[in-house]
Subunit: 214 residues, 2 copies
DNA sequence: ATAAAACCTGAATCAGTTGTCATATTTTAT
DNA sequence: ATAAAATATGACAACTGATTCAGGTTTTAT
């Protein structure tokens, strides 16, 4: 048999350049629409209108509104991780990478506010995908911290706990300063004071005297 | 005129013991129902069924499904703050209070998982109330850190940034360890290792050598 | 005891949604 | 050039779920 085994395309995959274009348009429109209206307020109608196609076309490529959200979440996650990874290369050590990473994250959020909304709302539509998103992130983060600890760049400690704590810090700082506080999102060094505060925490802790205790 | 000026009751306020009871039943039922089904999946029907009253009764006390969510958010916020405040009195200094507070928060979340879901979902129903919740929290937190800095209990630094960072840490640690990781939620010291990790961060930072830099 | 106020009921209304389908158009392969 | 496959259309079926309302029941005040 001529076994030119094609990678089994998912059901709604386009088989034409035009189809691929349309699918992509819908995806972008969904990101915008979910981002501004929110998942529940956004109807499929709103998405297709924004994409400039008919309602029915949506169902040529996606089986449901929920499915497109899932795809969006994975998409945005990949993009963010790629962006952060790119911004962090060239850091001398882990602590420097943390600073760069935080800065890059805040900037990315300010530039792509939809990411946040889509992701956070996904939590209540399909909790599994939300968990997976953060567990994946945390796994990578933990590994990096473990490597840094081996290299003697950071103190020994439970790096899984730390990874979740650091993700939480970034998340809330982003929420407050990149999304809610509009002023000063412009300008390249807009987030420097925040990064500086966190850097100080990493280098010196919060206690007045950096000594150990019980 | 006999000016016995009553505090102007909100529209749907009950005027009878029975009414107050019913209203309370609905509120509790709403917390449970939103908590387990989520805001959107939970119908008013589900709430009233859980409360053991007819649909129509709901609208005797609340003007909309959205309104009861708002009330719930404020309610839960008050309860949580009261709980944390109570658990933290008797701490020697701010750092000890942070540890106690984190432990108490994690335990509270494990015991009242609805809090989290209701609050996070409120974000997409009425963003203003969500912001207000955290801004209120942050304000109090910042004040406490400022006071601690004056007393020399913690390093000088931007305490607003720190407040948001600390809230984020708690939030994510709670998400992961109090809500998602089921194992070991029992037992009094279940969260001790986590608190220990964060305590170490506060006392010694993340860097290997607690020296200052640039 | 009785009228008034408060409270409760649940069927009906009403606005909006997702997802389907028969049909029309465009692209691809021969 | 032409048939087959892929893509696009938009009206519509089927359903969901919030809110209303006219009328019954319980509580309160006199």
């Amino acid at each position: 048999m001529s076994t030119t085994t094609q990678a089994p395309q998912p059901p709604g995959a386009p088989k034409t350049a035009r189809g691929a274009r349309t699918r992509a348009k819908i995806l972008v429109a969904a990101e915008d629409t979910f981002g501004s209206l929110g998942y529940h307020r956004a109807g499929v109608t709103d998405i297709t209108r924004a994409a400039g196609v008919a309602q029915g076309t949506f169902y040529t490529y996606f089986t449901s509104k929920e499915e497109i959200l899932r795809e969006l979440v994975m998409d945005l996650g990949h993009k963010l991780r790629a962006h952060l990874a790119a911004q962090v290369i060239g850091s001398g050590d882990r602590l420097e990478a943390e600073e760069q990473g935080l800065r890059a994250f805040l900037q990315y959020l300010a530039d792509h506010p939809s990411l946040y909304r889509v992701l956070q709302e996904a939590q209540f539509v399909d909790e599994a995908i939300y968990q997976e998103y953060y567990e994946t992130f945390a796994r990578g983060y933990t590994d990096m911290l473990n490597a840094a600890a081996r290299k003697g760049e950071i103190r020994a400690g439970n790096n899984q706990h730390r990874a979740w704590a650091l993700m939480g810090m970034s998340h809330f700082l982003g929420l407050k300063y990149a999304l809610w506080d509009q002023r000063a999102k412009q300008g390249d060094g807009a987030f420097d004071p925040i990064v500086e505060t966190i850097s100080d925490l990493f280098h010196n802790g919060l206690a007045l005297n950096g000594r150990d205790r019980g």
